[in-house]
Structure formats: C-alpha cells, structure tokens
Amino acid sequence: MIGPELATFLQSGISILFGTRDELLRTDCGRAMGARVEKGGAELTVFLPNATAGRSLENLRQHPELAVCFCRVIDHHSIQLKGQAVAIRTATAKDRTAIDRYRAALAESWAFIGVPAAFTRRMSHWPCHAVRMRVESIFIQTPGPGAGGPLGAPQRRG
C-alpha cells in the first residue's frame, strides 16, 4: 500500500519508467508521462504515450503484469511498484492537465542535472493511455547493496 509520504514522492515530477512483457516473457519498456496515486494508495494510474508505448499497451491487454519505477535523478533515490493493470483507457482532458503539470515539474528537476527544458518539452506525451494498476508490491530501487529489496511488507514476490 502506498503511504502518504511515498505518494508525495511518486507524484513529485520525477522520472517514471514502465516495463511490461508478452506471452514469450519478452519485455518492453519506456517512459511514462505522469502518475496519480488513487484509492488510498491501493492503486496507481500511469500515463503511457501512444507513440512510444504501443507495444506495452498491447502487452498489458493480454498480460496485465506491470512494473513502474520512479527515480529522482538528483540523488538516484528510486522506488519500483509492481502489480496488475486493472483498467486501460484513453486519457481524458482532465488527465492532460495532470500530464502537462508533470512535464513542467520533470523539466524543472531534469534541468538540475543539465537536461535542457526544450528537450523535456519535446518528449512525446499526447495522446496518452491511462493505465490503472493495482499495487501488489513495492521495492527500493536506489542503486547499491539491497537494491530490489521490499519496502514494507510485500504481498507478492518482485
């Protein structure tokens, strides 16, 4: 379950990576364009751009297992969430406001490490799909010893 402190971190305009798999257990990955913690921390909605996440969206319709990694680039503090996609829909105008806010925050945090805001603005972000995921386990992903260890009590292996 995502606690309030973790929810703040996940929604703070940091890098979001997603990973999915197909029936042959081959993976796909890319960057999500924002996330929203829902249902008191039991669920997470991530926004996957149509242009770059086509294969993952196909994967998720057949195989709902989804991994989402959040990383604050300034200190590499990282958390990975794993779970099942329970709903996939086209993102709405309201979602777009959240996506635009995310892009602005991301541009600001990446600017600290020298990535030009002009580049961050150009990252493909619309149209998007909103994928709602039931969170089953949370892992510490900061590089170093213990990376991949569970945060709190995992309900399922990572």
Binding site: C29, C69, A147
Partner: protein, 468 residues
Amino acid sequence: MAERAFEGLRLEELRNCFQGVIPSIIATCSRDGIPNVTYLSQVYYVDPKHVALSFQFFNKTNRNIAENPYATITLQDPVTFAMWRLQLRYDHSEREGELFESMSMRIQMIASHTGMAGVFRLLSADVYEVLDIEAVTDFLLPPDPAFDAPIVPASPSPLTELRGLHTLLERVAGARDLEDLLARTLLALDELLGFSHAMVLVPDEARRRLVTIASRGYPDDGVGAEVEFGAGLIGTVAERRRMLRVLHMDEELRYGRAIRSRAEQCGAIGELAPEIPLPGLAGAQSQLALPLLEGERLVGVLAVESRDPLCFDDWDEAFLQIVASEIARGIERMQEDDAGEGDGADVRATPPRAPDRLGHVRRFVFYRNDDCVFVDGEYLVRNVPGKILHKLLVEYLHEGRTEFTNRELRLDPSLGLPKIKDNLESRLILLRKRLAERCPDVRLVPVRRGRFALELDCRIELVEKDSA
C-alpha cells in the same frame, strides 16, 4: 508508431549513446511473468552484435536474467536525445580481460572518488547479443520554432585537427629538454587543438604516487600536487595503465553517492573512506586521462579536462593517444640524452658568488626523517627533489659550488635514485618549478644539456633537523 530498423541500423552508429551520459532503461522478466524495470548506469559497446552491461550488485535484474535471458534496453543520444530500443539476449559474463578491465576502471574511479574503493566494484562484464535495434522515432516531437533552437550535433573537423596534430608533433620534436617538451606540448594542445586545461604527472613508484610536473590552464599551476596510485581518475589510469574518459562527472558522482548512501543505510559495509575532492579544474564535467607508456613502463599520465559535459569523444581519444606516445617517447629520450651529458668538465672549480653582496637571507630547513625542505617556515619540496636541493645547498655553502651536472647527481648514492630509469629530469623540473613558485630568488638554470647552475639573489642559511 516506432519502426523496426535493425537491418538498416548498425550498433556502431549509436556510439554517442555508449558514453553513459543519459542513463539507459532496462526491462527484464522473471520466469513466472513479473516484469522488472530500472535504470542502467552505462551500456558498453563490444562489437557490431554485442553490448555489455556492468554487474556490481546482486539485484532483481540479475535474478531475472538467470531465469529468462532476454532483456530490453533503451539508448539515448546525449546530443540529439534520439532514442533506440534494443532487444538483448544474455550471452556470457567476463571477469577478466580487456572488456572487464575497461568497464572496471570507470567503476573504480567513481568508487575511489566517493570513498568506496574496494566496496563498490565490478563483479562481471555481462555480454548480451543484440537481437534487434528499433529507432523510437516518435519519442521526440518536432521542435517548436518559437521555443527550440535547432540542435546541431558537434561536428569534428578531423582535417583541422590532423593539421594541429602535425604542427604539435613538429614543435615537440624541437624541444631542448623535458621541461621545454612538456611546456611546448601543453601550449600546442591548447592553441592548436583546444585542450585548454591539461596536466602531466610523473610517477614516484617507491611512494605509489604521481606528482604533477607541468600544467596549463589552471589559476595555480599545481606543480608538486600529488595523486595516489589507484585514487580517482588519474590514479586509476596510472594503476591500470589504461586510458579513461569520463563525461558528465556530476552524474557519475551522484550515482556513486547514491550507492554510498544505500551501503550506509543497509549497514552492508564497515567504515567508508571520506570522499576525495576532484583535482584540477573546479566544476570539471569531462575528464580524459591517458597513461604515458614506454613499452610496459609507466612514465607519466596526461590528463585533460573541461567544464563542458560532452567535451571529449572517440576522436579526441585517438589523437591524444598519439600525443601521449610522443610525450612518453620524449620523456624517455630526454633521460637517455641527458645521461651521457654533463660529464668530463670539472665543475668543482666554479667560483662562488660573494654571499655578502647578496641581499636578504632565505632560511632553509631540511628534515632528515622524510627528506622534506621548508623555506622561511613554509613547505617547499620533499623526497628525492628535497634531497637534491639539500645536496646543492650544502655544496654551495661548504665549497662555493654553483654548477652541477645531472651525472654527479645520478652517481650520488645518498640521493637514492634508482640505477636505471631514475626520472631525474622530472624531479629537477619539479624542484625548479617549486623554487620558482615559492622562492624565486633561488633558481636552477640549465647551462646546457645535463648541466645546470644554482643562481642566487639572496644569502642562504641551511639548518638540518632530524624531524619536525
């Protein structure tokens, strides 16, 4: 939608992406179908069909690969930000050899700067076969002319640089002595090739340290500054005798600090060493250091740096290697030339200058326990250069000598110079420069090759002590 293009796209064309500037993403999947996604610090190019990933810590990625050898990674160009997705299959792991060494050096460098030498290290270089390369053509939207200046990739101009290299080599060939050779090289690197911050260090093998004997582009010339073998970029290059290039230094250090912080939180290790401040240019983002080798023997390290995070590329490496071999040969040649010079003439009859007519007094103190010399209460030099200065001052004060030969220094057992490859010339350069910096009224002036004069604009007082 992204287009599949492996057949038309060669891995070599993605060379810019292998510099570790923009971290890659890796996704793997366990046998029971749970995907895992995380950042990778760097992907290494192995050959047109293989890449290598570094394995430092046991984590979920390794466990998944052991169960299911397929992975997907992204690569991004640090200049254009274009993205590619690569499908990989694990092939094998290497724990020694060329690939392992070159990957391990970069990790050793980060580890030593962040106080984790021996804690954070490469366990293996994991080689993957590249099954497919896909350009993620829609990753970036077209530039908005209202906001975005066009991104112009830096285009090297090999012809201009080759001419620069040719001129540099000509200038170096005309050097009178080692000091002149190093000064000419660093000046030419700056003027002709744009390397405006560069330094040369020579090894003191007995103390496992490198000492700076020439530099250009720094507010303080730093001559005499020391680096331990194995410490930081320069020390790592000296220890491993391999070139190392690091771009986006801030990012490398952030990565190292993140690992350090995790290691501390997990209590996985004992006490960590303090972080080592970066030497040289404040705020340097790109560093490239090359070993100066004569055969297998290390005769020095050439280091260049820049505040531009993407300053150095493969081309810089290629022609700096030529410059490095030329400097190494020059160092060797100067030693050999010099070994046969300066003998024959009796220099003991040199008339002394009349001390009474010189002005103020410089007070030198020589500490026998560590061969350290202080002048007027401030540290000047130590070790072999300290012993040399002590000898010169003693002979001046007792016998009135002002001219000396390199040969007599070589033959003096009290100086403890090795019988062969003694680096005497480098040690004299260091001494000469330290005097120029700290005590300019005492000078060592070359008279001709293998012979130099002690010139004084002051009176000398020399005190010897066992220890401080």
